[in-house]
Symmetry: D2
Subunit: 289 residues, 4 copies
């Protein structure tokens, strides 16, 4: 018996250049399209009559991009989701995931260049648009936002059992790669303004939260600040892996380590997840998939 199912195209790479003026603009997106609906006959009976090829999903992204400026990722996602619901009678839900790759302008002699770009900071803006036709939900986000602080972070007073050997510390390096996603309350927000407000709130709070008792503690403070900074969102979901920096024991070398020499490790790593929700938040519907 077939249960839940979905299909789509992933990794569609779209670069859209606006060359209508000497000052070129650049949109660089990686897009995943997913649809759900009445597709059981394809699975069970090999009947493809309801199945739009994933190759057409790919082509549609380019065709729609060719009809005019792509605009913000959230808006383009809404446009794509609506299109697939219109064109596929069997579809009951369309989901568009977008990752925007930021580019900055190269400066030549401190003057921004009109058509030369350099890859921006490591973080990327994300968006997920989900639509049933009758309703739509937009989730914004940022991923790979790597931050580190060398003071103002402790981890003490934790639960101990017989396998606990970790020393308490009042002063450690705290580093993480933030992935945050936030749910908008509407489908017509100021997308870029909101994105920038949330991103700035997350980063500034990470820095300013100067009595961090744990990564959990800082995560919550960041989420609260983001809700305060952006009235257009009701909820954040955050994932913050702990990029451990351990002080190196220099005693075997006849030296002491005054909190200056660290080894950065890859694995294993702690992972902290948390949702921060505005009291009285609107219902999430199918925003989160």
């Amino acid at each position: 018996m077939l249960g839940g199912n979905r299909y789509g195209k992933s990794g569609i790479r779209l670069v859209r250049v606006d060359r209508s003026a000497a000052w070129h603009d650049l949109v660089d997106l990686t897009i995943d399209v997913t649809v759900e609906g009445h597709f059981a006959a394809a699975y069970v009976a090999g009947d493809n009559s309801a199945v739009l090829p994933t190759d057409t999903m790919r082509g549609t992204v380019y065709a729609l991009a060719g009809q005019g400026p792509v605009g913000e990722p959230e808006a383009f996602g809404l446009r794509l989701a609506g299109h697939f619901l219109d064109t596929m009678p069997a579809a009951r839900l369309a989901r568009i995931d977008l990752v925007a790759h930021p580019w900055g302008r190269i400066e030549v002699g401190a003057i921004p260049h009109p058509h030369a770009f350099t890859a921006g900071a490591g973080w990327r803006r994300t968006a997920t648009v989900t639509s049933t036709g009758a309703e739509a939900w937009v989730v914004g986000g940022v991923t790979d936002l790597v931050v580190l602080k060398t003071a103002g972070s402790a981890f003490e007073g934790f639960l101990r059992d017989r396998f606990t050997t970790l020393a308490e510390t009042g002063d450690r390096i705290l580093a993480t790669s933030v992935t945050a996603r936030w749910r908008y309350t509407e489908t017509g927000a100021d997308w870029s303004g909101s994105f920038e407000a949330v991103r700035r709130a997350l980063v500034e709070t990470f820095a300013a939260h100067d009595d961090s008792r744990s990564l959990q503690h800082t995560l919550y403070a960041m989420g609260e600040a983001a809700l305060a900074a952006c009235p257009e969102i009701d909820e954040l979901r955050m994932v913050m892996p702990n990029r451990h920096h351990f002080p190196v024991d220099l005693e075997p070398y006849g030296q002491s380590n005054d909190g200056s020499v660290f080894v950065a490790t890859d694995r294993p790593f702690g992972v902290i997840e948390g949702e921060v929700v505005r009291p009285g938040a609107s219902p999430p519907g199918r925003a989160w998939g």
Copy 2:
């Protein structure tokens, strides 16, 4: 306001060697530990008194592995989940994700060597154990199971819209990297026997399903065969990305392509997902997270 939250340690690398006889045995696991429960005070107030350090989770994996043979991934996961629920008063749910890296024995002159190994095929066995203490659920799985067939696969009769340019084909390369996860109906199954039965059913059905109308069609046939092969499972969730192999147009070179020359592409790629469920299946509870 804090919503759902969880934390844990990811990427714990454990290699356990059984050297009790000349014929050594090897277990190689990567383990993620996640707990949920009453941890809000850590987030909201910086109170760590309920928080077992993720470093202790790491240590616990090694300590338990030191107390005797690790056994099968599913069984070790159950042991770990139970341990964390016992040791952490605030925990209400523990989830253990395990990836087993298969090793084969090196053969020297066709004779298996007692203590030398070589990395096995690319696929890996996975397990996810979820426990609330009162109840527990086990999900087995396989990932990165790469298969390809050069005949017996078509894709025709699909929906067309104005952006559809794909040609119908009655004969194509079908290739995918299967990730399948299956839910056991109990916590005391024949784990390795079941794993092998399911894995074999998936692979053999991929090969033998000789009138494939689509990747969806083959996915469902594989899932049905797995349910038939293993009475200890009630449900599979499968993700099968389409590893597209496109015939190369050789006409510009004055040649024809008789279905022999293909380009394998990375992006974009189709993704087909489906759940195949036994009629009258037991309720999934929190098995899927």
Copy 3:
């Protein structure tokens, strides 16, 4: 002033299926093409008249593959190198790097299937062909050949300085991912037979070298065995990163570790490199690039 220079196309993915009989055969290659020669005008003056587009290099791989069976990687590399020297008047040297992705046949009820395949073990066969037209050199190889042994490996009697804290050990896990490349003495060897002879000699010697004093020691024994097994090669270059498995200190948990519980680490890692050369070896010419 322009010094050395070269250009080409990398990552050309070719899958060639032989469907001339019911028993299909499959060749799966990733190919890099590089040429050197009189191309300075392109760099210095923007004169492209000597520059064959890298897109043509891509197309040529498919065109030649369309003219008949691809055969062994080494042979196809020789064919490609000769072609580019013929077609590009400015080229003085062509180098073709090939990686062959091994596929095995799926067995259905223990019977190999005529047209269904599964990805082979993790290692891949490599070849590098270099030609000046007048002369050509072939280097075979294997990469990502992961092996591990749980006995017969020591590391003792090493140099110590004031920063040395490592304990001597007479019994450790030895694990590595072998990359070996070997130089053939001719351009018409039994490529697949030689490959298999060398690969087997490397793996079997890793296993059988039962008094390993170090990874260096085992590397040399493996290289010697490969030269002995394959008269068609004169030299091997081997790179063997040490995949460290450290015994976990269980004493903090009140347990002892009898050499059974290990942590596998990613970084940092030792790297051992060595060339093993047959006495009286032919000159390498430009085989190694």
Copy 4:
């Protein structure tokens, strides 16, 4: 017979914090240590008496970092190379490869924070120091410097053969990820000043080279500008993969593409390499390995 050989430790992760004032500073390096010399006995006879453990190399990096500020990567590399030549009687050459991970300061309300950081742009600064004791060479570098321009780039007038189908274009997107390495003429340069001068020359010239005939053409212009900008270097070696952006054919959708809609592709990709050398350059010695 043993030919060339070397060994060392790779992937040593060092983070050094200077907390001597409220304004913290951060150095984040990944370091590889390699030595060559009289180590044949280890390979051939299993005699480790000349072999300093790679674990000691790891420890040495931390011990030296604990003795005072690390300083610039090039300087720390020289210190490490000298140390290993001193401490290992059999070593004849030491090579230190360093990758510096750039961090920027988080700004809170436009004010740089004294101890909170965010990961910098994607590019990283590299250095390779090679020393024989009597002589030493320093190679600086940058890697993963991703740049793109949407005008001023053509590719025309190239060589055509019977497999050439590429259309000439007077206007295309040019994008690449620059890896450049440059050889210093001395071991006491203004490392950071030189790095910044070269990096800026490369980026600004990429942007300003407004009649690019090919990636080769732009590579050479960038190298020339770097030599002009930094008298302390004599030579650059550059590798510039072509990150192809192909205009999408929208005609099947009844649209035209006015040079605005592109697909960015991963594989295959062109690779352009070139060395740009100052006339009368000093001999490279063993700088390049």
